[in-house]
């Protein structure tokens, strides 16, 4: 963040093009209330998961890792929500909570208007799995080394009661859809494939249940750049072909920018900023987002990063800092940041976005918040 831009931001300089390609169908993620007209495909409310670290003689809880702490967001039908953050910020835990691979402590997930796991009138976890699937990061570990690839893909439909010939036929079609010749690959085993091919198999497997939303947890992070680009393009094609909605988790800001419609930034288990990708990348409002983006290497040597972005590691999620979790590394931290945890609110004049920073809340007690108000 250059000083000049910073100043412009603080006095509230007019930002042209503030409303980008997205229509107004987003929600105020701070309160979870619908602002737009359409019902979100996925609405996550106050999702929380604390892992107890047990140990000692009586297996008592020694410490609690606050992996995901009160995360709320929505995903609209047909969009791609990117989730970025440093490792250990709770991205993957969020994905596993969404898939109900681990049960959340508190919080609700509403899929297409149905509360997931609710006793009556809700969506059972089994039904959720038909609608929502996941692609894992490690392409090798996520395929059974002893199953032929077609069986790995057909497994989901088989479990859900499709007859074996029909399930295998679907697997063959999906192999073709992900760009692998079914005749060559159906009977092969995972170790015979390259990383990119395996990840294509994983994508095919995720699509086998014909889900409406696919969670991609670092799905391209382990691939070479050239293969990564191919798989990303494949994902874009498949999205159009099968009318999919993506939740795209990555630590790679360029990739997230390429594929996402909206981006959510997480830090230590909390959402710090969420907004349309253009807005967020052009004008990041949370100091953490600013630091993240300035850490992104520039392709232009004349615009090389001169200022060092963030230093140090994120604090331990076992005992996160009080108040704002980013305050220990934030250049603008003040007393108020220590006492109060900032809510995720839309900054003045920008309904599409939400930021969890005292500097963006007029009257929060932060000295810079006052500047914004006066301007």
């Amino acid at each position: 963040m250059s000083v000049a831009k910073d100043a412009a931001l603080l006095v509230g300089a007019p930002r042209s093009n503030a409303r980008g390609k997205l229509g107004r169908s987003t929600v105020d993620t701070g309160t979870g209330e619908l602002v737009g007209q359409t019902r979100p495909l996925l609405a996550v409310e106050n999702l929380t998961k604390h892992f107890a670290l047990k140990g000692g003689l009586l297996n008592r809880t020694k410490a609690v890792v606050q992996a995901v702490d009160g995360v709320s967001f929505d995903v609209q039908t047909g969009e791609t929500l990117g989730i970025v953050g440093e490792s250990g910020c709770g991205k993957s835990t969020t994905a596993r909570l969404l898939m109900h691979l681990i049960p959340p402590d508190i919080g609700s997930i509403v899929f297409d208007g149905l509360v997931v796991g609710a006793a009556e009138g809700g969506l059972s976890h089994r039904d959720l799995h038909r609608q929502m699937q996941m692609v894992f990061q490690e392409s090798y570990a996520s395929l059974n080394p002893r199953l032929p690839l077609a069986m790995s893909i057909a497994f989901g439909p088989l479990v859900h009661g499709l007859a074996k010939p029909a399930a295998l036929k679907r697997a063959m079609k999906l192999l073709e859809a992900v760009g692998l010749d079914p005749m060559l690959f159906a009977n092969r085993y995972p170790h015979e494939l390259s990383g990119g091919q395996r990840q294509r198999i994983n994508i095919a497997r995720a699509l086998a249940l014909e889900p409406r939303i696919v969670i991609l947890d670092e799905a391209v992070s382990a691939l070479d750049k050239s293969v990564e680009a191919q798989v990303l393009n494949l994902l874009v094609d498949l999205k159009a072909q099968f009318d999919l909605t993506y939740v795209f988790i990555s630590h790679d800001l360029n990739v997230v920018r390429y594929i996402s419609d909206r981006v959510m930034v997480m830090y230590l288990g909390k959402v710090v900023e969420i907004g349309p990708v253009d807005h967020l990348y052009r004008d990041p409002q949370h100091p953490y987002t600013q630091a993240l983006l300035s850490a992104m290497p520039s392709m232009d040597p004349r615009r090389r990063t001169l200022k060092s972005p963030l230093t140090g590691d994120p604090p331990n999620p076992i005992s996160p800092p009080s108040g704002c979790r980013f305050r220990t590394r934030c250049p603008f931290a003040e007393a108020v940041c220590e006492t109060a945890s900032p809510a995720l609110l839309a900054p003045p004049g920008e309904e599409l976005r939400a930021v969890a920073c005292h500097m963006r809340v007029p009257g929060s007690g932060h000295s810079r918040a006052a500047t914004v108000v006066s301007a």
């Binding site: 799995h129 038909r130 080394p145 199953l147 994983n202 086998a208």
Partner: protein, 299 residues
């Protein structure tokens, strides 16, 4: 899994597929085919098995009738090419018939322990939590005793005899098999493909069948095959100590014990049962090594 080939039935693609898709066991066999040592060892074991099963065809002498006139004849005596033992019984006949009990006492306990221990271990590994703790702590109790000591204690209590030997050896081999299968299952259970299977809505039994067992059974079997050699030695050891089968039964360990006194008179004859134990256990060991290599899909 073999019936993946259900898609379009045009000959060209079927041909292509036949070239590409080889089943897992076919690959194992192809790798085994190139491993001459393992093949030779398996050959020896097969020969041994044939010899033991059809023992009467391999010898003209009765293994139980001796004669004081021909006690402790040396190797190479006409009519008794491996000599005779301390009561004048033909040693070759006793070796051939003795293999029956020795192999029985070597294979059956491992097989039984594989069934019981494999089930408990996989269950413990897959269930985790309390079930795991319960099974594994009980295993630790048994583990505290060395297997030979445990076997001696059990046969000491129950008395000697083939049945009790098998029972004692089974009990002493259950803990290591539980250990191995539990740790293998625990490793596999936490891999992403099991998570993915859960994410596709599969229940525990389905996951166990399609995703856990086929990754776990191979290594457990290989480990069990390596236990056979130890088991043969232990069974022989129990007989040697007088806790296994009783005279006049022909059993390699017991023969070794009885011929011990003749070690100075006729050393070659006295050592022969030991040589058989050595060859057999060695072959089982080499076979399990070869199988482990052949069954590793990643090689």
């Amino acid at each position: 899994m073999a019936d993946v080939a259900v898609l379009p039935a045009d000959p060209a693609s079927a041909f292509k597929r036949a070239q590409q898709g080889k089943s897992y066991w076919r690959r194992v066999w192809e790798r085994l085919r190139d491993d001459k040592v393992t093949l030779a060892v398996i050959g020896v074991l097969v020969m041994l098995l044939v010899m033991v099963v059809f023992a009467p065809w391999f010898t003209v002498h009765d293994p139980y009738t001796g004669s004081v006139l021909r006690r402790l004849k040396p190797v190479g005596t006409p009519g008794h090419w491996l000599g005779t033992d301390e009561v004048g019984r033909d040693l070759w006949a006793r070796m051939v018939f003795g293999g029956r009990l020795s192999l029985l006492a070597g294979v059956v306990p491992v097989f039984l322990a594989l069934l019981i221990g494999g089930f408990l271990g996989v269950a413990a590994g897959y269930a985790g939590g309390l079930v795991n703790s319960a099974i594994m702590r009980l295993t630790d109790v048994l583990y505290a005793f060395p297997s030979i000591l445990l076997a001696i204690a059990i046969t000491g209590i129950l008395g000697s005899g083939l049945q009790n030997t098998i029972l004692a050896l089974t009990i002493s081999f259950i803990p290591p098999i539980i250990r191995i299968s539990e740790s293998l299952t625990t490793q596999v259970r936490h891999l992403d493909f099991v998570e993915a299977a859960r994410a596709s809505g599969a229940g525990p039994l389905t996951i166990m069948r399609y995703h856990i067992l086929n990754n776990v059974l191979g290594p457990i079997l290989v480990y069990a095959a390596s236990l056979i050699s130890i088991c043969i030695i232990l069974a022989a050891g129990l007989s040697f100590l007088g806790l296994g089968v009783t005279p006049p039964s022909a059993e390699w360990g017991l023969m070794l014990n009885n011929l011990r006194q003749a070690l100075w008179v006729s050393p070659l004859v006295a050592a022969l049962p030991g040589v058989m134990i050595f060859i057999t256990s060695m072959c089982f060991n080499l076979m399990s090594d070869g199988l482990r290599q052949a069954m590793d899909v990643r090689l």
